[in-house]
């Protein structure tokens, strides 16, 4: 009997989402946009850099340096400046990100085995990109230094660093980003679908109809929770397929573990969504509430910036963020075959968060019925 009622409710919830053109748009639009934007556009790599060179050296080494920089794929264009004024103007108007000034005695100093200097001017307004470009330039200049007579001479004594990137040997950006997206799309969809479901019924007045029916409060709650979780799992699956087949991200760990923890993650997310839904009287408020939660949740999860970089007082806040734990699991399962123990260690807090969000949503839900 209770199962027939619950089944009717779940079927209705799914139909309500699938048959409403606006709701359907929410299920299709944001996931595609998110996949395209984050996987292609929101890259953290620095490419296509415009550089200006003020070469006051007329010798061989100055030319050699410019050529080597020109050969690097990072730089899109290299323009030549005639005066320091040109450099100032170009950086000021953001035509170039960085400028390299080679002093008049550069080649002579190298030939003579004296320390030679170049100056790099960076646009501090784009601090992150500048730092990375500065690193590239240093590496190119370092390589050039090793080729000079003095450098070749000193080579046997120098310490060289061999960097090797585990799990993502070529540091392919998408290997890092696409698994992140699996977690964030589930957050987005789970939150919005749940937040809208109760608010929509309240707005249309059908919610009263549910309350006067023999459905018990916990049945209504379950009926509101299960369909968004099903939809969330569907989106997770689509994204995993895209990761494996479109972006060719290696899947090294167990899908079983991933889905197992995803259920707890979704329960936690849907609990938050239901809480927002119980609070809001209209769909507009519900959407606003969902974004009010989602933006900080993304920023405080380690999605784009490492949690260790946040100030010490802010770091504890991330402990209540379900996305934080699920990100570790998704990335771990994709890139390094995360062991069961570690998955469990991350799933326990998800489980606790789910218990808290679901029970407070249920509490608020019942209270609003008074």
């Amino acid at each position: 009997m209770w199962w027939a009622r619950l089944k009717a409710l779940i079927v209705k919830e799914l139909l309500a989402v699938l048959r409403d053109p606006r709701a359907r748009l929410i299920l299709v639009g944001p996931p595609i946009v998110q996949l395209l934007v984050f996987a292609y556009a929101a890259t953290l790599e620095v490419k296509n850099v415009d550089l200006m060179v003020l070469n006051r050296d007329s010798g061989h080494w100055g030319r050699e340096l410019v050529q080597q920089i020109g050969g690097s794929p990072t730089f899109r264009s290299i323009s030549l400046a005639n005066s320091p004024n040109d450099v100032r103007l170009a950086i000021d108007s953001q035509r170039v990100l960085a400028a390299l000034e080679i002093g008049p005695s550069f080649s002579r100093d190298i030939e003579a085995g004296r320390p030679a200097e170049v100056q790099v001017i960076l646009d501090g307004r784009r601090s992150n990109a500048s730092q990375i470009v500065s690193g590239y330039l240093s590496r190119i200049i370092g390589a050039l230094a090793a080729e000079t007579p003095a450098g070749e001479h000193a080579a046997p004594m120098a310490v060289t660093v061999e960097a090797r990137n585990w799990f993502n040997p070529n540091l392919i950006y998408q290997w890092f980003m696409v698994p992140n997206l699996v977690a964030s799309i589930a957050l987005l969809i789970g939150l919005i679908v749940t937040a809208l479901s109760v608010a929509r019924e309240r707005e249309l007045g059908t919610f009263d109809q549910l309350i006067v029916s023999p459905l018990r409060t916990h049945e209504i709650l379950l009926g509101k929770l299960i369909p968004p979780m099903m939809i969330g799992l569907f989106h997770i699956t689509i994204y995993i397929l895209a990761a494996v087949f479109v972006f060719v991200v290696p899947l090294r760990g167990s899908l079983f573990l991933l889905y197992g923890s995803a259920i707890f993650y979704l329960a936690a997310v849907v609990g938050v969504g239901l809480f927002i839904s119980a609070l809001s009287m209209t769909q507009q408020q519900a959407i606003l509430g969902a974004f009010l939660f989602m933006v900080p949740a993304m920023l405080l999860s380690g999605f784009a910036t490492p949690i260790e970089n946040m100030p010490a007082w802010l770091q504890p806040v991330t402990l209540v963020n379900p996305l934080r734990y699920f990100l570790v699991i998704v990335k771990g399962v994709f890139l390094k075959d995360l062991p069961v123990a570690e998955v469990a260690r991350q799933t326990v807090p998800l489980c606790l968060i789910a218990v808290v969000t679901l029970s407070s949503a249920a509490w608020l839900f019942r209270r609003r019925l008074e």
Binding site: M1, A4, R5, K7, A8, L9, V11, K12, L15, A16, R19, D20, A23, L204, G205, T206, D208, Q209, L210, I211, V212, S213, P214, L215, R216, E370
Partner: protein
């Protein structure tokens, strides 16, 4: 009244006006007509008839697909600005700013309409006096009652005295007293030569207009003075009294008879419209000695039904297949004991008490915002009473087992369906939620498909159905599980009169089988179907009794046959006088 403007040039000339929205049948189909100044022209018809569309076409805010609309000599296609400068328009929900005071709203609209500063003080004073709002200038518009909001809306529409005033359902959400006030104000305007268009779904309002356009499903059924319309059924309307409490049963049988065009319940009596030349039945198989038949003046609605080819029959297949509930023990099925609900310092319902025995239709009658919905919601468990107690079939629905709710059916005309779900999906959902499964579920759903003729529309989304079908579907969903108590919240407001009759035929049939019905309504017609009514006004029950008792309380020499609305207004007046004393 009407003589003044008859010979003058027409204010509005409609020529073969057609308007379509999407692929649906046209919202307006070849409308022809003339509106003159100095009188009230009623735009009458059920919801979805095309009233709002026609008014918007006259403002020039919308253009017809075919035909022309000429207002005050200007074509809406070519000179909309000239029209908008000379027309006052009050849409259904007038755009009052609820967080501004009455005075601030007036000033804002004076700015928007470009009223010269020098004229303002005089105009405001005049309008405030006219609308009787002078005492409330500092009150926020959001805190005004429905009637006062409409009056303020009217004042704003009149800031620059228009030649033509377009009022879109000004009577909705307004108590009958304010409605009469509004009407009187508008009548005063017509004396100055202003043309007024008053749209309404209340057919009784049509009778008071000077000229009527009767619209139904986008077609103009009638245009002319209302008396011409009622003359169609002159001498064919009868009142059958002395029904000995069997009026529902008798009506059902009468409606099946040859020669009966229409029949409705009016308190203890039955109102019948006969085919021309057919005498009303008396005695014959109904061997009730006391029954009497008397001719009665026709009303607009009688003529409307006659024009539509008569009402539906009196048989309810729904009731025939319904199991009976024994009238038996005489204990009340619904009990309200001192039900009170306070929201902050506002008392929405105070000390409401009544009993409803099995097999009775009980009505909560009152204007919007009077507290009838609050009372209704406390009884069906949607709101927790601040004090007092409500019981349905012996259960307190807020506390007792949800299975108790299996015994009740709930239908709110506007809200009870899932618009994005198709007809069959709605039926399946409600069957599932009420615990029907297997063969029972299939049989009940098949039965509903047959009774309500859903087969051709099973896969349409509920929100795309015409209002009448929505209403049928809502009823089907509410009675799928054969409830013994039905809660109906404004079940037929805005629905066309044919669908309304069909609906009440089913309800009457179910009541004969022992189903108990609680209905809220602000429709006076609907109140006539009730065995007893509680009249709710400003949160209190100011009268309780049968419709006939209420009407007989106010019978005077100059008012021998009062309508329910007359009774309503008189009783509210008496209650206010009592309060003031």
């Amino acid at each position: 009244m009407s003589a003044a403007g008859v010979d003058s040039a027409p204010f509005v000339r409609l020529t073969a006006v057609t308007k379509r929205f999407g692929r649906a049948p046209p919202a307006l189909d070849g409308i022809e007509g003339i509106v003159r100044g100095g009188r009230i022209t009623g735009l009458v018809g059920p919801d979805g008839a095309g009233k709002t569309t026609l008014i918007r076409l006259m403002t020039g805010l919308m253009l017809p697909d075919e035909g022309t609309v000429e207002v005050l000599g200007y074509d809406t296609r070519r000179q909309p600005a000239a029209i908008q400068a000379a027309v006052g328009y009050m849409p259904q929900r007038f755009g009052l700013y609820e967080d501004l005071s009455v005075q601030e709203n007036l000033e804002l609209y004076a700015d928007l309409r470009g009223l010269a500063k020098g004229e303002r003080d005089r105009t405001f004073a005049e309008l405030l006096q006219f609308t009787d709002l002078a005492r409330f200038t500092t009150r926020l518009a959001g805190k005004l009652s429905g009637g006062m909001k409409q009056k303020l809306g009217l004042a704003c529409a009149l800031l620059r005295k228009p030649q033509l005033l377009l009022l879109d359902e000004p009577g909705v959400g307004v108590d009958p007293i304010s409605r009469r006030d509004l009407w009187r104000m508008v009548e005063n305007l017509t004396e100055e030569g202003i043309g007024v268009i008053w749209s309404t779904a209340y057919l009784e309002e049509a009778e008071a207009c000077d000229h009527v356009f009767l619209l139904n499903q986008g077609r103009l059924l009638f245009s002319g003075p209302p008396r011409e319309m009622t003359a169609r059924v002159e001498d064919r309307v009868f009142r059958l009294s002395g029904t000995d409490g069997r009026r529902r049963h008798r009506l059902a049988r009468l409606l099946e008879r040859e020669g009966v065009v229409d029949g409705v319940i009016q308190g203890e009596a039955i109102r019948l419209v006969m085919k021309p030349g057919v005498t009303p039945p008396l005695g014959e198989d109904e061997s009730v000695a006391s029954s009497r038949t008397a001719a009665t003046p026709p009303r607009f609605e009688d003529a409307f039904i006659d024009m539509l080819g008569g009402g539906p029959g009196g048989r309810s297949k729904l009731a025939e297949t319904q199991r009976s509930f024994a009238v038996g023990d005489g204990k009340p099925v619904i009990e309200a004991r001192g039900l009170t609900k306070r929201f902050g310092d506002f008392t929405a319902a105070a000390d409401i008490t009544f009993d409803i025995p099995r097999g009775e239709i009980f009505g909560l009658l009152g204007p919007n915002g009077a507290g009838k919905s609050t009372t209704f919601k406390m009884l069906c468990g949607l709101l927790k009473p601040s004090a007092g107690e409500g019981r349905v079939a012996g259960f307190d629905l807020r506390r007792d087992a949800p299975e108790a709710r299996n015994r009740l059916g709930y239908m709110a005309q506007k809200f009870s369906l899932y618009g994005d779900l198709s007809v069959i999906q709605n039926l399946n959902f409600f069957a599932g939620v009420y615990g029907l499964s297997g063969i029972t579920k299939r049989e009940r759903i098949e039965l509903m498909k047959e009774i309500f003729d859903f087969r051709p529309i099973l896969d349409l989304s509920a929100k795309d159905l015409p209002l009448g079908l929505k209403q049928r579907l809502a009823l089907a969903c509410a009675v799928l599980h054969e409830p013994e108590v039905l809660f109906l919240d404004e079940p037929t407001s805005g629905v066309d009169p044919i669908t309304r009759r069909e609906f009440w035929t089913h309800i009457n049939g179910l009541v004969e089988k022992g189903v108990t019905v609680l209905v809220t309504t602000h429709f006076m017609d609907e109140a006539e179907y009730c065995d007893r009514i509680s009249l709710i006004y400003r949160g209190r029950s100011i009268a309780l009794g049968s419709p006939d008792e209420m009407k007989s309380r106010i019978v005077r020499e100059d008012l021998p046959d009062p309508t329910m609305e007359d009774a309503f207004i008189a009783l509210i007046g008496a209650s206010e006088a009592e309060e003031a004393a």
